[in-house]
């Protein structure tokens, strides 16, 4: 019976997983930097879909907002600033590819083995989950302010540290890419006797 086969959450998982993994590989295999950025967008978007599937809606939306909408736009912006013809596709030597493929394959096998090594990790999931356990947004928000209703430790200090870190990064990035003063070429040419 086909109805038994089509479990929508499983189907969606496989769909998102295929998109995420496929485009992650495309990022690796593509040589064209703008295409890579596009594939990365799709891969990260599909990852956000996976987050939504696990019930972590806030993290999924966050992934869309900050990762895909912010970080990647920034990245593409940088790509466009530097995408001169000669830098659009810098080829990698074949030797590097082979080494990377062997090591990557080994790493993948190791991680794949680990993923399926613990029986508890692929035991059948709980049949019924009470909604308040899944609904996590307000608990996330409270945890970030240091309030935990489930007795775990709060995250106020990490949150503050990250905030300060972001501020430092903001200033630092602004400093690195700061505006420089330069006389325009035309004016400089005119200056020359």
């Amino acid at each position: 019976m086909i109805g038994a086969v089509i479990d929508w959450s499983a189907f969606l998982f496989y769909l998102f997983a295929a998109v995420a993994c496929g485009f992650a590989l495309a990022v690796v295999l593509s040589n064209h930097i703008v295409h890579m950025a596009f594939y990365l967008t799709l891969a990260l978007g599909a990852t956000a879909g996976l987050f939504l599937l696990t019930g972590s809606q806030f993290v999924g939306a966050m992934q869309f907002m900050i990762y895909v909408g912010g970080t990647l736009v920034l990245l593409v912006f940088g790509v466009m600033l530097t995408a001169q013809h000669r830098f659009v596709s810098i080829r990698t030597r074949a030797g590097e590819w082979i080494t990377a493929a062997v090591l990557g394959g080994a790493l993948l096998m190791l991680l794949g083995y680990v993923a399926w090594a613990v029986p508890d990790w692929h035991a059948a999931p709980p049949a019924h989950v009470p909604p308040e356990q899944v609904e996590s947004t307000s608990r996330l928000g409270l945890a970030l302010t240091g309030v935990r209703m489930d007795g775990g430790s709060g995250y106020a200090l990490p949150f503050v540290i990250v905030s300060v870190h972001l501020l430092v990064v903001l200033i630092g990035a602004g400093y690195l890419a700061r505006a420089r003063v330069r006389v325009s070429d035309a004016a400089a040419r005119k200056e020359m006797p």
Partner: protein
């Protein structure tokens, strides 16, 4: 010497991007026809602008050397095609100067009425299109709505709506039809309140001021150096208007008319009390001032038309007889400059005694006005280029001829 940020030559930049050459035109929505501007840009900052002209060249002057002066009238229409009447006038006056022809009184007032209406029509296009350059569409159509009424008046007078060939050496091809003056007065009455609409939509609009005030500042000396004229020159604060300062043959046309040259004196324009004051961001000679001068000239022209209507209806005689099609020209040369809507429009005619001139030459105002573009656009942003070019209000037909 340390370079300071205020230095006009300094271009501020965040990230080095390679300089890019961009062709703005000849097919571009805001180059007013077929002007081609080659922009050298660094990101959004324009470091150099070079206008390339000649895409609308039609050998008008050469044709003028193969036609009699009356036959060449339609070609003058096609120079500044937005102010055909004023082009007709310039050529007619030049030929009349060569012929030493004395114009009847009535024809003089007819010409004032028609040419000032032509100036209004031309400034309306300039103003509307400037709104378009800044990204607002509606004032353009509001301007065209009013211009349409002027064109209706012209159509009634001469049968054409764009290329009139109405004013010709010797006078005009026909007198104004019956009832025309009343219609003209009605138009002026209707038009007066509409100007406030334009001021609300453009002149006093916060975004408009942001986009034009302090942009493309043309100092008076530079304007004079480059031979700018018309509203571009007066926008820089130079008190010069050929209707007052020109040759007697031209200024005598305005004898008895009361008008004040639209130029900023002591920080004020004549009549600017009627309108919201000059914004404090505006610097004399910037785009905003050039635009504002045009707006005030519209009002000034309305006044002149009203006076002209009065003089015209009081004066006796006829509207002048056009010279013969193949009128023999006296041997000699004549040069006369008139104040066309875009500035100093000069015609030069050399005759060897036949009815066909030996040499014809036109000095167009837009050509000189356009030549300051590369000075004004240095170091501006790409978005400022249409703002600056639009404020010069050029017509390619006049530049390329």
């Amino acid at each position: 010497m340390a370079t300071r940020l205020e230095d006009p030559r300094v271009v501020e930049f965040d990230v080095r991007t390679d300089e890019m050459l961009v062709n703005m035109g000849p097919q571009h929505p805001s180059t007013h026809g077929v002007l081609r501007l080659v922009l050298r840009t660094d990101g959004e900052v324009v470091s150099e602008v070079q206008p390339h002209i000649g895409y609308l060249h039609r050998c008008a002057e050469k044709i003028g050397e193969n036609l009699t002066p009356r036959q060449w009238i339609p070609y003058t229409d096609r120079m500044d095609y937005l102010a055909g009447m004023n082009m007709n006038l310039g050529w007619s006056l030049t030929v009349e100067k060569l012929l030493r022809y004395e114009l009847p009184e009535k024809a003089r007032h007819l010409r004032v009425i028609i040419c000032e209406l032509g100036r209004i029509a031309s400034h309306l296009v300039g103003m509307g299109a400037y709104g378009l350059d800044l990204g607002t569409f509606s004032p353009f159509l509001y301007a065209f709505r009013e211009r349409e009424k002027i064109l209706d008046l012209f159509e009634e007078a001469c049968g054409a709506r764009l290329t009139y060939s109405y004013i010709c050496p010797g006078g005009a091809t026909a007198d104004l039809p019956k009832g025309w003056l009343q219609k003209c007065e009605k138009f002026l009455d209707e038009f007066a309140p509409v100007i406030d609409e334009y001021h609300a939509l453009l002149t006093t609009n916060a975004i408009f001021i942001k986009r034009t005030a302090g942009i493309g500042i043309l100092p008076a000396e530079m304007a004079i150096d480059y031979g700018c004229s018309g509203p571009v020159l007066r926008g820089s604060g130079v008190d010069f208007d050929l209707r007052r300062d020109g040759e007697p043959r031209y200024t005598s046309m305005y004898d008895g008319y009361a008008f004040e040259v639209v130029v900023q004196k002591d920080g004020h324009y004549p009549r600017d009390h009627k309108y919201p004051p000059v914004p404090k961001e505006a610097v004399l000679g910037d785009c905003w001032h050039r635009f504002y001068v045009r707006m005030l000239e519209v009002v000034q022209s309305m006044d002149l038309v009203r006076q002209g209507i009065e003089f015209y209806s009081r004066s006796k005689g006829d509207w002048g007889t056009p010279i013969k099609l193949n009128q023999k020209l006296p041997k000699g040369e004549a040069y006369l400059e008139t104040e066309a809507p875009r500035g100093q429009m000069g015609f030069y005619i050399v005759s060897d005694g036949s009815s066909i001139p030996w040499r014809v030459r036109a000095r167009s105002s837009s050509f000189c006005n356009l030549s300051v573009v590369s000075e004004l656009c240095r170091g501006c942003l790409i978005a400022d280029v249409p703002a600056i070019v639009g404020s010069l209000d050029i017509v390619m037909g006049e530049i390329d001829r």
